[in-house]
Structure formats: structure tokens, C-alpha cells
Amino acid sequence: MDFATLIQILDSTVRLATPLLFACLAGLFSERAGIFDIGLEGKMLAAAFLSAAAAAVTGSVWLGVGAGIFASLMLSGIHGLASITFRGNQLISGVAINFLASGLTVLLGQTWFGLGGRTPPLTGDARFGPITLPFADALAPVPFIGPIYAELISGHSALVYLAIACVPASAWILYRTRFGLRLRAVGENPAAVDTAGVSVNGIRFAAVAICGVLCGLAGAYLALGLAAGFGKEMTAGRGYIALAALIFAKWRPWYALGATMLFGFLEAVGNRFPNIDLGLFVLPSQFMQALPYVLTVVILAGFIGKAVPPRAGGQPYVKER
């Protein structure tokens, strides 16, 4: 593998990791506040659909992003209502949200556009174009550093940079602000937060809303950045990969960056080399596809470091005793 190929693979790693990173951080906020969310997939799917639909109709990419966040927030609202207000089972609510998104996107897509669930292909201002960072063209001929800067770091869409910026921002919010402290406390010991006179449900709803916004960005990037329009089931399990990355990252923002980059890299390598010849035997492409899930199971089993979820995760908070 030469240097240019490596740069190409890393470049596509960054692009493929972006939706995972948004979704992983989304899950992080929700689960750190004690709300399990297996509905990341559904929220991303709904956001991808509505953002593509809005961008196709209005021709504006940012209106598309707004619509995507709106769709994702709606589903977050359902999840919050079910798991916070009515103290329902968070896992079951997540499953329901995934199916709701999977069904409604095709149903509405077929009714609105009549293209078998797809949205019209997006062009021009309706999708994200690459942003060329300053001096990228000037630096490009410089050996080694040039390609890294011009191809790997520069030339992505706005949302890619936003996703990367979300990592320090999330770390700062979670570990350096009062809200973040309360959010983490709600996920570990809600009764203590309640005693301090802070509304547990309020913090949890805020966390679920942040999760909705981030999932909306993930979906919007899928439809407006990575692809040009919405296709049926286009998330293709990315919500679950993000969930896996979240466990891999042990519910921490910087680790989340590492985990999603790793899973993005696996996908990029799998796309580039369907079958990897190791000399002795050939690794089939299915192996690469299954690898993130296998790694997550291994991590969960505690063979490589233990992943400990937030202690009050999955339990609705009951105030009166």
C-alpha cells in the first residue's frame, strides 16, 4: 500500500466516521443522563430523510439540516415522553422509534416524491460542498505534509469540522460546566441530584434533546454530505455501530472520537479492499463488516478493559418513596 492510497483511505475514514461521531456523542449525552437510547438509528434515519426532502424542495442545504434536526427532535420527544414522563421501558421505546422511522420515511417518501422511498437527487446548493482550508492549494505540492493537509485535513464539508469540534465541546460541557456535572450525576445517582433541588426530569429531557440535535446532524450529514439524497434504510445499521462505539469509548467524549475513527477506518478499508489477502488465507469482506460488532462484544465481555455504563442507566426515576 503506497502513501497516496493510505491518504485516500484515511480521507474516507474521516468522512465515514463523521455520522458515527455525531451519533456516538448523541448517545453519550443521553446515556450519561441515564437514558438508554437504542433509537439512534431511527433518529438518524428520520433526520436523513427529512433533511434530504427539505433540501430537495427548498434547494437550501441549511434548511435541510434544520429539518433533519426537527425530525430527530420529534422522535427524541417521543422517547423522552415514554421513558421519562411515563417511566416506560427505554429499550422498548428505542425499538419502537427505530421501526417508526423505518416505516414512516418510506411511507412519506413514496407519497411525496413517488420514487419508491427515495428523495430526488440533490445537486448544487442543496448539498454540502467541500471546504478548502487556507493555503491547501499552495501546500499541496509539498511532499508528505502537502497531501496530508490538502487531502486529509482540508476539503471536507462543514459538518465534518463541526463533528470534530463537538468532541472538545462535549468534553467541556460534561466535565467543566455545572450542567455537565448535574447531567452526569443524574445518570449515576438521580436521588442525590433531586435532594440538591435540581429537577431530574428536566436534566434528562435536556440530555435527550441534545441527543436529538446531534442525531439530526448525523442524519443530515448522511443525506446531504456523504450521499446526495435519501435512500431507503440508508443508515444501514450506523446507529448501532455508533452505539457500539459508545461502549468502546466507555462513555467518554475523547474516546468516542477514537472509537468512531477506528470503526470508520474499518469501513473505509472494507470498501477499498473487499477481500484482504493475508498470504496464508483471505479475510472475507464480511469479516470486516462484522468486526466492529465482534470488537464491541469482546469489550463488553470485559476481556480488554471493562466498560462500565452509568449506574442509573435504564431506570426511570421515581421521586416519591
Binding site: I92, F99, V297, G302
Partner: protein, 364 residues
Amino acid sequence: MTAMPKWADAVLVPLISLLIAFVISGLVIFAIGEDPIAAMKLMVSGALGSTYGWGYTLYYATNFIFTGLAVSIAFQAGLFNIGGEGQASIGGLGVALCCLYIPWPHWSLALMGAVVAAAVFGAAWAAIPAYLQAKRGSHIVITTIMFNFIASAVLVYVLVNVLRPTGSMDSSSARFDEVMHLPSLHDVLALVGIPFNNRNPANISLVIALVACVGVWILMWRTRLGYQLRAFGKSEKASVYAGINPVRITMYAMLLSGGLAGMMAVNTVMGEGQRLILNSVEGAGFIGIAVALMGRSHPVGVLLAAILFGFLYQGGAELALWTKIPRELIVVIQALVILFTGALDDMVRRPVERVFVMLQKGKT
């Protein structure tokens, strides 16, 4: 708040939830510019108006009985097995291997062999998440989700690289021998003189599904193991104090659950397909969740809920055929049923409870 009689809890609350889910589905149909009443009529006539429609309804229901029972057993033991999809597809692999490589002399023997193979393969696929949950405390929901994806990768690999006959472009196994052909429901009912359409995939697996319902009922409510499973599900601490081994119970619950999910493959792979194809499960593993929630994790409830979903499936196919409503409407209805009978249960239950409390106060 114990004013609510048992029947209200078991029947009234799920029915109200179902009604809400249906009303919202009707609104969805209305919103996309179709007539909900006409759609309902078409679904009923398409799924239940002929023995042809009934055949498809019962064929789908057979799948949902198996996956519904699978989710139910795990629910009873306090575990959420979301991996029915993966367990059923690996079960299908078991059925295919059993039918392709063993020269069965007669379909009845092959059927028994296939049932065992499907159950063993399904159970084996559930065994690893179960072991990790029991021994290492890894969350079973996450591991079973991961195992669904791993199962689909395994199945693609095996179908494309091992089971695909040389020269075939289709990623599917070879056809099973003619001997392996299961009697259809038409043949079974003809024995007792009931005329039934013969151009539908309903087959003798339905009988196995019904036997499984009875078996699960006996197991859960008439045996020591069933009692232990239910006790464990109600309160882990109390059951451990009573001397129930949590590792053993988790393993048993998940093995039974995985085995039942795997047995679904007898219906799809052996009964209908006569060969193993990609994605023969078609989401039935997930519908099992809706069926179990709707049926309150009881075999009778599961049977009724499975027939309801079989009806929705066949009715939905008819809708897609004759109107502009896409098949995905069923996925929306399924989501709403899961949402209202599962996650938003409390929203329905609280007002119903209040009504019963008021009624009681009125009496005294």
C-alpha cells in the same frame, strides 16, 4: 392501586393500546391521502376473505408465534432478547445443513431433524450473549443486537462461499430434495375433510408452532424450571435468596428463547423456500417483540397477537398490491403497537386504573 381486576390488566389495557395504535395508523393513512376505512376493508378481505388469504396469514403467524414465544420466555425471566432475528437466521442455517447433507428417507423424519437442528443452532447463537450476561454482566440487549449483525455477516459468507452451488449467481443454497417437501396446510386439512386453498405457503409447521405454545405454557406454569424462570424475572434478589442459581436460569432462559426463535426457520426455509436464501427471516425476529408485548408474554396472548400480525402482514401486502399505500405501513403499525403496548403502557394504564378506583368508590 390494586383496584384493577386481573382481566382488565391482561385484556383491557392491551386492547385500548391496540386501539390507539390503530387510530393513529388510520390517521397516517388519511394523511397520505388514502381512505383508512377502505384500506381496512381491503386488508380484511385480502387476508381473511378467502382460504388463500388465510393461508398467507397463518404462514406469517407461524413465524410470529415462534419469535413471539422466544421473546416472551426471555421477558418472563426479566431478559430482553432483541436477537431473535439473528437466532432465526442461524436457525435457518441449521435447517439448510440438516436438509442438504443428511439423506432423509421421509419428510417426517427430516422435519424432526430440522426442528432439532433449528433449535440447536438458534440456541447456540443465543448462548454466547447469555453466557456473557450471566458470567460477565455484559448487557444482553447490546450483545444480542451485535449478534444480529454478526449473524447476517456469517450467513452472507456461508451462502456465498460455501452453500452456493457452483456456477449459480444467486446467493442461495441448492434446492432441498423432493422428499423433504413438507405437507401444506391444504394437505393436512384435507385429511379431516376441510377444503383449503393449496396455492399458499402455510404448512405443517403451524402445527409445530401450536404444540410449542402448549409446551411453553406447560413449561412456564406447570414445572419447577418455569417457576424459577418467572421468579427470577420478578425479582432477581429474592430468587437468588431462595436458592435459584442466576447463571443457570439466565442460560436456560436464553437457550430456550434462542431455540424457539431458531425453530421459526423450519417454516420459512423448509416449509416455504425449500432452500436457504439471504434474509429469509424478513424482520420476524423483531415482530416477535411486538407480539410478546401485545400478548403479555403469555402463550395464549402470543398466539392471538401472532395471528393479528399475520393478518397485518398479509393485509399490508394486499394494500401494496391494490392501492398506493406502500408495504411499509405495516412497519409503522408495528412501531405504534410496540410504542403503546410496551413503552407507553403507563400512559394507558394510569387512566384505566383511575376509572376502576372511581367505580369501586361508587360501590361502597
